[in-house]
């Protein structure tokens, strides 16, 4: 039986601000700026938005959108507390809302002052899921994601022989893609030597294994496919979407397998909903909080076997023109950190044929992942309407 959500909702509008280091704008202003662009992209009157899912904590609540955009009748207001997995998980909630008739157009927004506002360790203390880490791990000097996820990366290296050279490949290819995009924080070429020479943050993660602290806003509009097909831009439907939560969700330390994320559960569901498999994917935007996180997700997504993610990323395979181009916009590593909503925007552009110099030829089906909050994992499979 075909899943009732398959292709019934669409990404109808996308918008983003400049990605910078330094801004005078608030997180709220960045979200509103990106939202207005997304609404203009779709050709939707802002007042007709009736569902809002803002990123939390990001400086905006749904009420701000009523006050600023004059929404006439908001019927859905929600936060999804899944850290980096939030934005793609929000697509699932939005798709449910527009296909059941609860909403016409759901706005998903992120505004982040990750550079000019508070820093990562401060922000994390606002996340309820970090309470256990704050009690048991912060006192021993381990709290930031670069530290918490480093142990898994080290274990992968010890078990499978994954190397820093392979981590570097992810960083270097992602930078090449960023340079083609233009609206990016990091616009100078990066070499493997630059990566290896960058300072150690939390072994095995060096500086260039880590995503950016940047400022920017992004927004996406989800509408029912029946409505979206009459809107301004080429139709891109949500073929499959899912969120997943790992066992021992609030403590990586106590997880039976510290290399298992929520994506282990959500990816098979999304593939089944879409009726596709890894071989059908033309382009993938993978949540890249760290280089290693990309390598491990490629394994979980079935592009290679467990332990083979390191060799998989080599030899141009993940670059434009390769077998599976990934993070064609520069990702969180080089474009900017708006919690992965920029990945959703880029995948939509690719499937519309609007990706400019980074366009993957004949991109028809692609996937995007979200990862965060100690390993929650969300995934959406999008496709260009035939």
């Amino acid at each position: 039986m075909v899943h009732p959500l398959r292709d019934k909702a669409a990404v109808s509008g996308i918008g983003e601000t400049a990605y910078t280091r330094g801004t005078t704008k608030s997180g709220l202003a960045l979200q509103l700026e990106a939202s207005l662009k997304a609404l203009d992209d779709a050709g939707i009157d802002p007042r007709d938005v009736d569902g809002v899912i803002p990123y939390f904590p990001g400086g905006a609540i749904a009420e701000d959108f009523i006050a600023n955009l004059g929404l006439k009748d908001l019927t859905l207001s929600a936060f999804i507390p899944m850290g980096g997995a939030t934005c793609v998980a929000a697509i699932q909630m939005a798709a449910m809302a527009v296909t059941t008739g609860v909403c016409k157009h759901v706005l998903i927004s992120v505004g982040r002052t990750g550079y000019s506002g508070s820093r990562v360790s401060t922000r994390l203390q606002q996340f309820p899921v970090f309470a256990q880490a704050a009690e048991f791990e912060l006192p021993i000097g381990m709290f930031a994601p670069a530290q918490l996820y480093a142990q898994g990366a080290r274990r992968h290296m010890e078990l499978y022989g994954t190397t820093a050279r392979q981590f570097a490949e992810v960083a270097v290819v992602t930078r090449q893609h960023a340079i083609l995009n233009g609206n990016v924080v990091m616009n100078k070429p990066l070499t493997v030597e630059d990566h290896h020479a960058s300072r150690m943050i939390s072994d095995p993660f060096r500086l260039f294994d880590c995503s950016l602290e940047s400022d920017g806003g992004a927004a996406v509009i989800i509408s029912a496919t029946d409505r979206a097909k009459d809107l301004r831009k080429p139709l891109v439907t949500i073929a499959g979407v899912a969120e997943g939560h790992p066992d021992s969700p609030a403590s990586i330390a106590q997880r039976p397998d510290i290399l298992e994320f929520g994506l282990v559960k959500s990816a098979p569901r999304a593939y089944a909903m879409a009726g596709v498999g890894p071989k059908d994917i033309d382009v993938a935007e993978i949540y890249d909080c760290f280089t290693f996180t990309v390598i491990r997700q490629l394994e979980i997504l079935g592009f290679c076997k467990a332990g083979e993610g390191g060799p998989f990323v080599m030899d141009g395979r993940i670059a434009l023109g390769g077998e599976l181009p990934i993070n064609t916009h520069g990702g969180l590593l080089s474009q900017g950190h708006v919690v992965g909503l920029n990945h959703v925007i880029e995948l939509t552009r690719q499937l519309r044929g609007e990706a400019g110099r980074a366009q993957v030829k004949q991109a028809e089906t692609g996937l995007v992942t979200g990862y965060g909050d100690m390993g929650d994992g969300s995934i959406a499979i999008l496709r260009r309407a035939a």
């Binding site: 048991f136 939390s202 095995p204």
Partner: protein, 143 residues
């Protein structure tokens, strides 16, 4: 003309645990130099970190009992960048994730073993490091 005194930043304070009603016995044990873990009173299974319900049999009755201190290395990281200012002076430091013989994992700083000698499965032992009158933290040392 008098000059304003240069402000001196206070020394950064160590982040300390805030025990919950569930975890208080674990921290009380640490203070006494005892490694106490939470065991289900109904099915006997151990669980960590402390929480109200046994995820195996759903009993809400539990007791804290002393557990063995040995374990083997599961993973580690060497923290160079001090995300919290308190740890700037001691960086780089190793945080080891250890499979305790008691059947749970513990994350703690590892002292006295050089990074080059770390490998999965290496035996270590949990020790106790008092940081003030109320709080003692776990630490790993060579067995």
């Amino acid at each position: 003309m008098s000059q304003a005194p240069t402000p001196v930043a206070p020394a950064p304070e160590r982040p300390l645990p805030t025990p919950t009603r569930e975890s208080q016995p674990y921290w009380d044990g640490m203070r006494e130099g005892r490694f106490l873990l939470q065991y289900c009173s109904s099915c006997g299974k151990v669980r960590h970190y402390p929480r109200p319900v046994c995820p195996h049999c759903f009993s809400m009755e539990s007791e804290f009992k002393e557990a063995p201190l040995g374990g083997s290395l599961h993973a580690w990281t060497v923290c160079h960048h001090p995300f919290n200012f308190f740890f700037k002076a001691s960086a780089p430091y190793i945080v080891a994730l250890v499979d305790m013989d008691a059947g749970v994992r513990v994350n703690a700083q590892l002292h006295g073993i050089p990074e080059a000698e770390l490998k999965i499965g290496r035996r270590v032992k949990l020790g106790f490091e008092p940081v003030n009158k109320e709080v003692t933290l776990p630490v790993f040392v060579a067995e």
